[in-house]
């Protein structure tokens, strides 16, 4: 049997444990980095192989402990989860590279925490069990707390407290919802839940709605949907660059979960429950989009601006997914890929800008002083901004185009207005930021006394460029990607097949 | 099970629970901390001890599942109860909740400082 599905979880876990073993002042940074990169490379390879198995359209169920799916925990590989795992791995590789330019030595346990973060992310994407999803959410979150807080001090601690406290509260809500899920539906396996919801007695409809509503609230909170996005800008803006860049995928986990629940549990077979909550989420998304775009406009610093870009992209995705149309789903997934890479790159650029000032609090009206940084960061900012603002010819444009095309006729008015208006606001915000940062003439250099002139670190630049190149590749080689995301959407839209394939998977030697 | 054993068990249960109750009663009834400290730490050890003996005998004689290991609980309680009492008393002293006499000879125990006259007197 193929053990591929477990590898994206297992490899980083072993890598993380091994990192802890070789972590010692005596050893220096090399062994840790070696272990981290070996693990990263292996995970990436596993993710690619996973995508290979999933791209055919089959759903692979990996029965952990060889228990039949309704008794134990099952890992599920379909197009969506494989895509998410691969996206995570690629993004993580760039982030790891960025961190290896020096941050990894300043933050205790960075490499181990980083690997564990991957464990959490990949686990969350792969699991087919809703309680296990919670567990991997927690793995991911606690590793993210570590990455955010390790090596930090001062205001970051406050931002961290907000982030941690809010997420704990949301996780508590998650648990309440899970208790209700088991109490009402009697299963935790998502495929099984799908089947049970499809044959739900009418008497249970109300409590089922409440239960699933709570679940959706949790995922919306993690994905930063109105009014639950308030925690995000500060936390993301305070995180170290490599970490903030990795965090970009974290909101996507919430979105992924919403999508999974929305399609698998609340899809067509759910009868009266089909599409439950989607309208609310759509309105929330429009509001989020507006406020996120306002945030981009009004952001005092580039990192805050980048954080609001995360909000904007999350809202756009929510809109795409709430349309419940195959083409819109596909477009959304393409947009998800694009926004992940590009916004992550934006965080890295923001960090370069911040460092070149040597001052956390300087705002967007202060130009970048160091000529080297101006040039490199300026060019990278241009590429990232063009892409993220949805200007041609980069990936953002294609994502937006695909989304506009996919909107069902009835929804055209509000969706187009929301998307185009927010695009314009984002353009205004980015133009303002870019021209202030890279075009204005900086004050004479010796303003910062004693600070050496900031330079770019090649590794950092390569990491950022890698993400930007990915964005460009996503637009030049868009055809297969668009095809894959379309196919993914098609697979998502037919949950019956998914459920059937999971239920038909028998244990290797146990009785089913 | 013989009648004797049954009576013995009933007596043990009665005595044990009575002492547990007395201990708790003292906790409520007595008027200051150091008096209250006596009730529970003592009555509980004997009370719980009796109940444990009853339990062990019961499980042994009822034949289903003999549990001599329950005696270990008593053993643990006999070791830990003095530690608890000692610590609580020291906590009480540190808050100057009662007068304590001067140490004969030199005053040494720095952790129980002198009680000043104006300290609030906590009585119920």
């Amino acid at each position: 049997m193929s053990h591929l599905p477990i590898l994206p979880v297992l490899l980083p876990l072993l890598g993380g444990a091994l990192c802890l073993f070789v972590e010692h002042r005596r050893f220096g940074a090399i062994p840790q980095r070696t272990v981290a990169w070996l693990s990263m490379a292996a995970t990436l390879a596993a993710a690619i192989a996973l995508l290979g198995t999933a791209s055919g359209g089959d759903v692979t169920a990996y029965l952990l402990g060889d228990w039949p799916n309704h008794l134990g925990i099952v890992l599920m590989v379909d197009r969506l989860s494989a895509l998410m795992v691969l996206t995570t791995s690629i993004l993580a590789a760039a982030c790891l590279l960025h961190a290896c330019s020096g941050w990894d030595r300043r933050a205790p346990h960075f490499h181990a925490l980083f690997q564990f973060q991957l464990v959490g992310l990949n686990g969350a994407f792969l699991t087919g069990d809703i309680f296990n999803l919670f567990v991997f959410f927690e793995v991911m979150l606690i590793a993210s707390y570590g990455l955010l807080l390790s090596g930090g001090r001062g205001v970051r601690m406050r931002a961290g407290l907000h982030y941690v406290a809010f997420n704990i509260a949301a996780s508590t809500l998650f648990l309440i919802a899970l208790g209700l899920v088991y109490g009402v539906f009697g299963s935790l396996n998502m495929a099984e839940l799908s089947a049970r919801i499809a044959s739900l007695p009418p008497a249970d409809l109300t409590i089922a709605k409440a239960t699933l509503g709570l679940l959706l609230v949790v995922f919306c909170a993690k994905a930063a949907l109105l009014p639950l996005y308030l925690w995000l800008p500060d936390a993301y803006a305070r995180a170290p660059a490599a970490v903030a860049a990795l965090f970009v995928i974290m909101t996507k986990v919430g979105i992924y979960a919403t999508l999974r629940i929305g399609q698998l549990l609340l899809g067509e077979p759910a009868g009266e429950l089909a599409g439950y909550g989607q309208d609310w989420m759509a309105w929330g998304a429009v509001g989020t989009l507006a406020l996120g775009a306002l945030g981009v406009l009004g952001a005092p610093r580039l990192r805050v601006l980048s954080a609001y870009l995360v909000v904007v992209s999350a809202a756009t995705l929510f809109i795409a997914f709430s349309l419940r149309a195959e083409a819109a789903l596909g477009a959304g997934l393409y947009y998800l890929l694009h926004s992940t890479f590009v916004v992550a790159a934006m965080f890295m650029i923001a960090d370069l800008v911040r460092r070149s000032r040597g001052d956390e609090m300087r705002d967007l009206t202060h130009p970048v002083a160091s000529p080297a940084v101006r040039k490199v960061a300026g060019v990278m900012f241009l590429v990232a901004a063009v892409s993220v603002a949805g200007l041609p010819p980069l990936s953002g444009f294609l994502g937006k185009l695909a989304l506009l095309q996919a909107v069902p006729e009835a929804d055209v008015a509000w969706v187009w207005t929301a998307i185009l208006a927010s695009s314009l606001m984002v353009i205004v915000g980015l133009v303002r930021a870019g021209s202030n940062l890279f075009w204005r003439v900086p004050p004479p250099l010796p303003e910062v006394v004693g600070a050496p002139p900031a330079t770019t670190r090649p590794v950092e630049t390569v990491a950022t460029m890698l993400l930007l190149v990915l964005g460009v590749a996503l637009s030049l080689g868009a055809a297969p990607v668009v095809e894959y995301t379309r196919a993914t959407a098609a697979q998502l839209m037919s949950p019956q097949d998914y459920v059937r394939q999971v239920r038909d998977t028998d244990p290797a030697w146990r009785n089913p | 099970m013989s009648i004797v054993i049954e009576i013995m068990l009933v007596v043990l249960l009665a005595v044990g629970s009575a002492f547990v109750l007395v201990g708790a009663f003292g906790l409520v009834r007595l008027s200051e901390f150091f008096k209250r400290l006596h009730g529970p730490t003592k009555a509980s050890t004997l009370g719980v001890g009796c109940l444990l003996v009853a339990s062990v005998s019961y499980h042994t004689f009822i034949g289903s599942d003999p549990q001599p290991r329950e005696l270990l609980i008593t053993a643990f309680l006999f070791i830990t109860a003095p530690i608890s009492a000692f610590m609580m008393a020291k906590a009480g002293l540190s808050l100057r909740m009662d007068d304590m006499p001067q140490l004969p000879g030199r005053a040494e125990d720095t952790h129980v400082p002198e009680r000043p006259d104006h300290a609030p007197d906590e009585r119920e």
Partner: protein, 162 residues
């Protein structure tokens, strides 16, 4: 060498006994495993042992325990009556009890016994370890109390922990 591998024979024995009682099984496998634990655990426990104190003759132990149990029983009834009676009749007070024993195990055992016996609680050991501060539930005669403790507990303890 022997000390290094068997830091404390009584501890080894009590661990084995403890293990067997807890498992409630006396088959060879359990005995073997109990012995293994008896070998290993004291090694760990020894790392915590801050003060090494000698252990002398254990002959007095049963008698001491009998005394203790009897006192617990009797005093329990006394104290129960006092608790249930009128509170104004209770005259609590502190007593500094002068110690003759200087073995720390002995002092600890004595302090425990005092506490376990109803009506008295050990509250403090003086910094020079020469006095125990005892809180007495109903203090009639301090000297008699001190004498009683010396006679019934401290002297036997001095034999066990010289």
């Amino acid at each position: 060498m022997f000390r290094r591998w068997f830091p404390s024979i009584p501890l080894t024995l009590s661990v084995v006994a403890f293990w067997l009682v807890m498992n409630d099984a006396f088959n060879p496998a359990h005995i073997a495993f109990g012995l293994l634990l008896g070998l290993v655990i004291p090694l760990f426990a020894a790392r915590l042992d801050r003060e090494f104190a000698r252990i002398g003759s254990l002959r007095g132990v049963p008698r001491l325990l009998m005394h203790l149990l009897w006192d617990i029983l009797v005093s329990n009834i006394t104290v129960a009556r006092q608790v249930l009676g009128r509170e104004t009749r209770i005259h609590p007070g502190f007593v500094w009890y002068p110690l003759d024993i200087d073995n720390i195990h002995g002092i600890a055992a004595l302090a425990s016994m005092i506490t376990l016996t109803p009506g008295t609680v050990t509250t403090t050991l003086s910094g020079d370890r020469k006095y125990l501060l005892i809180h007495v539930f109903n203090l009639d005669d301090a000297d008699a109390l001190i004498a009683g403790i010396k006679d019934r507990y401290e002297r036997p303890l001095m034999e066990i922990f010289p």
